[in-house]
């Protein structure tokens, strides 16, 4: 402990270099914390704990529709409180840059399944009544300025109408908001009335992309999910039922093996950081060879000098690493917002991984300079040899 001020002061030997190295370390560990957090999230297995909503899709792919005929059979399963169905509409508003998700839904069922959405009772009624009606999330309203009564043209890249065109028009009959800040943040979407959609579309009548199941007791969600899938086993419409959270993640999973991508990126980042920090440490020791010779002259043993250099490497890596991890926690909050409801948190396991990485990195960059300082001969170093 008494050597700490010495280690600390030595760090500041070259301030600019210290700052640059710390910035690199901070950036690397921020990336580490964030990517590992995302990776842990994606690699986590099915988790039914606390899930009060399930999503049932076709087993092969979520792009494969399921017939509405499954509805009563799902409703009949004990523990199911309410079932809704939803079809991704894939509409473009005026211009391709204006993309936001829309789902065609049976209004009453959907709103029963999502009590988190808040909208006035008369607007709810209007949505149920109006076959060409749509309700718009608060965030979309903020972005595009939609008002009740607006007719919104949407060009679907999936569905053609019976008249052969892809130009659909929906009337805004309600504006919904989230029950809290979290849900308000996700309200950049639009629900369309399934009634008009199913009548007017050219193909696929009587089907929907997914079923949304609200369960009465979250503790039963795993059992219910299994019951649903077993119900349709070996039928033409085999299903896969997941929690809503897992279902959201499975979208992103299809991009590729997230774990592998993360590992590759982090590998490259840490290779670079190893070089940067390694260079800093070896320069820091090379420039201070006479100082280490003085310390040895004063009676510092070879072991103490080795420890001082290693301590310097640890201090460097820990300071940079911890700042980076703190920033990663902040960045994770931002990313959570973007991922619509899959909370990205820097879990304890990621902190442990980060600490282990800091220690390993410090050792890797510190050991050779430390050995160099250990081996130096006092008389040669003092004479500048």
């Amino acid at each position: 402990m008494r050597f700490l001020p010495l280690v600390w002061a030595s760090l500041f030997h070259k301030k600019t270099r210290l700052v640059l190295t710390l910035l690199s370390l901070t950036a690397a560990f921020m990336l580490f914390g964030l990517l590992q957090a995302v990776s842990v999230l994606f690699s986590s297995g099915a988790d039914f704990v606390g899930a009060n909503r399930l999503i049932t899709q076709a087993r092969v792919s979520f792009t494969q529709p399921l017939p509405l005929a499954l509805l009563p059979r799902i409703e009949a399963i004990p523990g199911v409180a309410r079932v809704a169905y939803s079809q991704f509409f894939g509409g473009i508003y005026i211009d391709e840059r204006n993309f936001f998700p829309q789902f065609t839904v049976e209004p009453e069922r959907l709103l029963d399944c999502y009590p988190e959405w808040k909208l006035p009772a008369d607007q709810r009624e209007a949505f149920i009544r109006t076959k060409t009606g749509a309700i718009v999330g608060r965030k979309l309203v903020e972005k595009y300025g939609f008002k009740i009564g607006d007719k919104i043209p949407l060009k679907s890249f999936i569905f053609t109408k019976k008249d052969g065109t892809r130009a659909w028009e929906w009337e805004v009959v309600g504006i919904f908001d989230g029950q809290d800040e979290d849900w308000a943040g996700r309200s950049n979407l639009m629900y369309l009335n399934y009634g008009h959609f199913d009548e007017a579309r050219q193909f696929g009548q009587g089907s929907a992309g997914v079923y949304i199941i609200r369960v009465a007791d979250p503790n039963e969600s795993e059992r219910i999910a299994n019951d649903i899938d077993r119900q349709f086993e070996n039928s033409p419409d085999e299903t896969k039922t997941q929690t809503e959270k897992d279902w959201n993640l499975s979208f992103a999973r299809q991009i590729g093996d997230i774990g592998l991508i993360v590992t590759a990126i982090l590998g490259a980042v840490f290779f670079t950081i190893l070089l940067v920090t390694g260079n800093t440490m070896s320069q820091a020791v090379r420039e201070r060879i006479p100082e280490f010779a003085v310390l040895k002259t004063l009676g510092f043993s070879d072991g103490k000098v080795t420890a001082l250099v290693l301590a310097e490497a640890f201090a460097l890596c820990l300071i940079g690493g911890l700042i980076g991890m703190v920033l990663a926690v902040g960045a994770a909050k931002v990313v959570s917002g973007l991922l619509n409801g899959s909370p990205v948190v820097v879990q304890p396991v990621v902190w442990l991984q980060a600490l282990a990485t800091m220690v390993a990195l410090a050792f890797a960059v510190g050991i050779f300079p430390a050995l160099r300082a250990r081996r130096l001969q006092i008389v040669d170093a003092l004479a500048g040899r």
């Binding site: 008494r2 050597f3 001020p5 010495l6 002061a9 030595s10 500041f12 030997h13 006479p290 100082e291 003085v294 310390l295 040895k296 002259t297 004063l298 009676g299 510092f300 043993s301 070879d302 072991g303 103490k304 006092i378 008389v379 003092l382 004479a383």
Partner: protein, 250 residues
């Protein structure tokens, strides 16, 4: 300006020892030092014998390359002889391991170099404290000893200055305080005034003389400067790795 009276009264915790006890503190017998470069072997010191009495202030002079620094490094335990025995305070130091030698140096020797060799990132007081980090003194005890040592060299006011905020003479005085702070048996100085102007050199030499006279420190000083050597109680001349005996100074 030689100002022995400018130093503060001996509040320093060392036992003042004005009467030199004339026993050999350093005893060198048959010491040789050889360097091998490829096939060539250079003998820098050849079968050297020397006794240095406790309480002595010895000036070691001689032409460049005569082996002064080499001898000083052997006495200070920074290096080991190729042959021969070196005893300090009746302890043989020529065969100690590197760790034992480091411990011994910390306990018994204070070093002063031509270029001060302070750590640039540390304040004067932190530099002076360095040797004490190796002792088991508490923080408060270390602080007290550092303050006393800085007072002896007349730099109490500069305690929190970094080396680059001090003049050469002041830096050398900090270095002397660092050499003193752990109360060593022996002060070993390699051209301590080699980088200073006359006036500053005289101040530093007066300080060394004061340490010798009033604190009983045994001092071995290498110098090229005949004026500097006059501050010592004895002078020794070296040439080509051997001693040339000469008379004592005032």
């Amino acid at each position: 300006m030689p100002v022995p009276s400018a130093f503060p009264p001996p509040q320093y915790t060392l036992k003042p020892d004005p009467e030199p006890v004339m026993t050999a503190l350093v005893s060198i017998r048959g010491v040789s030092k050889r360097y091998t470069r490829g096939k060539q072997t250079v003998e820098v010191l050849a079968k050297l014998d020397l006794d240095i009495a406790s309480g002595d202030f010895l000036a070691l002079m001689g032409p460049s390359g005569s082996g002064k620094t080499t001898l000083l490094n052997l006495i200070g335990g920074l290096d080991q002889p190729s042959d021969g025995e070196i005893r300090v305070n009746d302890k043989r130091i020529d065969q100690l391991s590197s760790n034992a030698l480091a411990k011994w140096r910390a306990r018994h020797v204070g070093f002063i170099f031509q270029f001060y060799n302070l750590l640039p990132v540390l304040t004067a007081e932190a530099n002076v404290e360095l040797p004490l980090l190796l002792t088991d003194l508490s923080k408060a005890q270390r602080k007290k000893a550092v303050a006393a040592a800085l007072a002896v060299v007349g730099l109490s006011e500069r305690a929190t200055h970094k080396p680059n905020e001090l003049s050469g003479g002041q830096q050398q005085r900090v270095a002397i305080a660092r050499a003193l702070v752990a109360d060593p048996t022996l002060l070993v100085c390699d051209e301590p005034t080699g980088d200073l102007d006359r006036k500053t050199a005289d101040e530093v030499l007066t300080l060394l003389q004061d340490l010798n006279r009033n604190y009983g420190k045994t001092i071995i000083m290498v110098t090229h400067d005949a004026k500097a050597a006059e501050y010592a109680t004895h002078q020794l001349h070296m040439d080509k790795g051997a001693l040339v005996v000469s008379g004592a100074a005032a």
